[in-house]
């Protein structure tokens, strides 16, 4: 008789789960990754080449035209000094026309924003369009930052690989990754219950909670790995197609994103409308990626819990997709939206509190959205652990 078997370690169970997901879904994940990277990068590059490049060419032409006009103005000014009094009036008229033309050339800047003018224009808009206060304040903060850093002209169409990463993970594109989460996590336990392998698994790894946690961790790690690979891939490919961009390009963040002690209580749920943090693009990319991973981590936890509670892959899949969709309509439910586990999805791209102001729900901020999602995730984990230990096979 051999020596008694050792109880399985978490590492062994986890490794098995990783292997199963990888062998079952590896090819599909790689194909999805390639499609995602290529799709996002090509669409952005297309827009970039359609808008930014002609605009840049226009701007260059305008600069040449402005230089020529300045020369003409200088010539006219010199002529004004030497011509007799009777002819001056005509030259003065010509000078006025040339100066007006120069002004027009400077204004028609090929898509590049004059930041000084932008600051003035945004200040005016603040008083005339109060409903857009959040986004206006964000733009104003950015424009002021650029003016103070000598970036007097700026083209919003000038995308870059660096900027695209932040846009993908801090925008609605996140829904694509959420769908990947649904695919990866919604059959975690139910597929094994259906195929009958759950019994065999528990026979060799009888600690059910350990198995559940290993499955959850494996699903989480695979998704996070997918997101990181997508971030690197999008950055690299879009940089080739467009340009790398500056790591220090400014990005403005205006919401409460952390649960700092002073933010507890009412201040936690109040959008920080007047305070905008300007951060370099690289740190915004990183923050957006971390927040997206956190949100999707909560979503995966919810899906794994659904998989064990419903004992049905189709059930977990349908509920998962409905929950995901509900997030994008959550604001319509008023304060009840704060019960929606997916409320953080639309909020992740809403750094300025637009939703909170438009829907008159002051608590609808990224901070509270993330908190709600994570509370749901914690509840799903607890229910899943409780249920898995009581499920008859």
């Amino acid at each position: 008789m051999s020596k008694p078997a050792n109880p399985p370690t978490f590492r062994a169970v986890f490794r098995n789960e990783m292997e199963k997901i990888w062998i079952k879904r590896g090819k599909a994940l790689i194909i999805a990754l390639i499609i995602l990277i290529a799709g996002v990068s090509l669409v952005s590059a297309h827009t970039y080449h359609q808008t930014y490049q002609p605009a840049a060419e226009n701007a260059q032409n305008n600069q040449q035209a402005a230089a020529q006009m300045r020369q003409q103005i200088a010539q006219t000014q010199r002529a004004l000094q030497s011509v007799p009094q009777g002819k001056k009036k005509a030259l003065q008229q010509q000078l006025a026309q040339q100066q007006q033309a120069l002004q027009q050339i400077q204004q028609s800047n090929g898509g590049t924003v004059n930041e000084r003018l932008q600051v003035r224009s945004l200040q005016n808009s603040l008083s005339t369009i109060p409903t857009q206060r959040g986004p206006l304040l964000e733009q104003l903060a950015l424009a002021r930052y650029r003016v103070s850093h000598g970036l007097l002209s700026y083209n919003p169409a000038a995308d870059s690989g660096m900027r695209l990463v932040g846009l993908v993970f801090g925008g609605d594109t996140l829904v694509l990754f959420a769908l990947m989460a649904v695919v990866i996590a919604s059959d975690t336990v139910s597929a094994e219950l259906h195929s009958g392998t759950w019994g065999i698994l528990l026979l060799h790894a009888p600690r059910r909670r350990q198995v559940y946690l290993a499955k959850w961790a494996a699903a989480l790690l695979i998704l996070w790995g997918f997101m990181l690979a997508a971030a690197v891939g999008i950055f690299a490919f879009s940089s080739v197609l467009m340009r790398v961009g500056s790591t220090l390009e400014p990005h403005v963040v205006g919401m409460v994103t952390t649960l700092l002690p002073q933010n507890f209580g009412p201040s936690l749920v109040v959008p920080a409308q007047q305070v905008f943090h300007i951060m370099p693009q690289w740190s915004y990319d990183l923050l957006a990626l971390v927040l997206a991973m956190l949100t999707l981590g909560g979503f995966v936890t919810l899906l794994v819990g659904l998989s064990v509670v419903t004992r049905s892959t189709v059930g977990a899949l349908i509920i998962g997709v409905l929950v995901l969709l509900s997030g994008f309509f959550a604001a319509l439910a008023g304060p009840a939206s704060l019960l929606d586990p997916a409320v953080s999805f639309p909020l992740i791209s809403d750094w300025t509190g637009t939703l909170a102001m438009q829907d008159n729900v002051r608590a609808l901020t990224l901070g509270t959205g993330l908190t709600v999602t994570l509370i749901w995730a914690a509840a799903a984990l607890a229910v899943g652990l409780w249920r898995v230990s009581r499920t008859d096979v």
Binding site: T197, L202, A205, D392, V393
Partner: protein, 330 residues
């Protein structure tokens, strides 16, 4: 279990092979008043059973008798509503890891990850068991169950017999002390069945305890040293001395209908035979003279009474049929 049962256990010889190894007085497997209820359905009712080292217990009963639920409770897969299951004295449901060490099992249909190869399926279990094996060891294990050629094929392409062979490789992965087998012969060809039977008998001789549920009664008959009959969630009979031939009486009387009524009223299991004869199941040897006496007292004209050895099939039918019930249902 009483002392007399233990004494009987020590004294008996298995049907297959030589003497038992030294038997321990502590049961390897102990079911103590185990009950499982699913809402209104009582799947298993108050089942108690002790198995000792080297026992091969045939676990018999019709479909839906509660055998699989009982086996699943033994393996900790189903939580009993009442009662407890212990392996080597350790409660399966409170300490599953310790209790299930050294337990091998084939549960009903053999389920594997269809997208993994046979080798990968085996490797998963080896990893869980904390066993480090070389690739050649792994191939050897698969060769041993006749899957050497199919080791790198995905299990989704395996036949039922191949799956059963893989299940066997998994059940025996770490020289188990207790084997729980639910229909292990399903899909095996005759040669593989014979090989498997020999292997089980050798294991039992080496002290492995085996609980074998199967509808292939001839296999159970050749292997089992004990029998447990289950019906409608309850244990309806046991045979702890299977080495002793069990009897049945073939009886022929003048008034056939009257005897049929008499047997039915007293809930005796019987099967009508040719020439107005009945085969009456006899559970205890002492039942034979007692029954004949009762028939004489009841005024039957007995034309012929012949005691014969009872096959497992007859025993099974005797335990499972109610008077007048169609035997094809069991």
């Amino acid at each position: 279990m009483g002392l007399d049962r233990q004494a009987a256990h020590h004294a008996r010889q298995p049907l297959y092979g030589g003497a038992l190894m030294s038997a321990s007085t502590q049961p390897v497997l102990s079911l103590n008043h185990v009950t499982k209820r699913y809402h209104q359905t009582l799947a298993v009712s108050d089942v108690s059973l002790d198995l000792y080292r080297g026992d091969i217990c045939g676990f018999l009963g019709p479909n839906g008798a509660g055998k699989t639920t009982t086996l699943r409770m033994i393996l900790g897969l189903v939580q009993p509503t009442r009662g407890s299951v212990a392996i080597h004295g350790i409660n399966v449901h409170t300490s599953p890891t310790q209790a299930l060490q050294g337990v091998g099992a084939i549960i009903e249909e053999s389920h594997f990850y269809p997208y993994l190869t046979g080798e990968q399926n085996l490797l998963q279990v080896l990893r869980l068991r904390g066993l480090k094996v070389t690739p050649s060891d792994l191939r050897e294990r698969l060769h041993a169950v006749g899957l050497g050629e199919a080791a790198h094929r995905r299990v989704r392409g395996y036949s039922l017999g191949m799956r059963q062979r893989l299940a066997l490789a998994l059940a025996l992965i770490q020289a188990p002390q207790l084997l729980i087998l639910d229909e292990p012969m399903n899909g095996l060809d005759p040669a593989a069945m014979r090989e498997f039977r020999t292997h089980l008998a050798d294991m039992a001789q080496a002290g492995v305890t085996i609980l074998l549920s199967s509808h292939i009664l001839s296999e159970v008959e050749q292997l089992a040293t004990r029998l447990v009959f289950m019906k409608e969630g309850c244990i309806v009979g046991r045979d702890d001395q299977l080495g002793t031939p069990t009897l049945q009486l073939q009886v022929r009387v003048t008034d056939r209908d009257k005897l049929q009524q008499w047997l039915s009223e007293r809930h005796h299991a019987f099967t009508p035979g040719p020439d107005d004869a009945f085969t009456v199941a006899v559970i205890d040897e002492m039942d034979c003279p007692r029954l004949v006496r009762e028939w004489v007292w009841a005024g039957f004209d007995i034309l012929e009474v012949r005691p014969t050895a009872q096959s497992l099939e007859s025993q099974y039918l005797a335990r499972m049929t109610q008077p007048g019930e169609d035997v094809t249902n069991v």
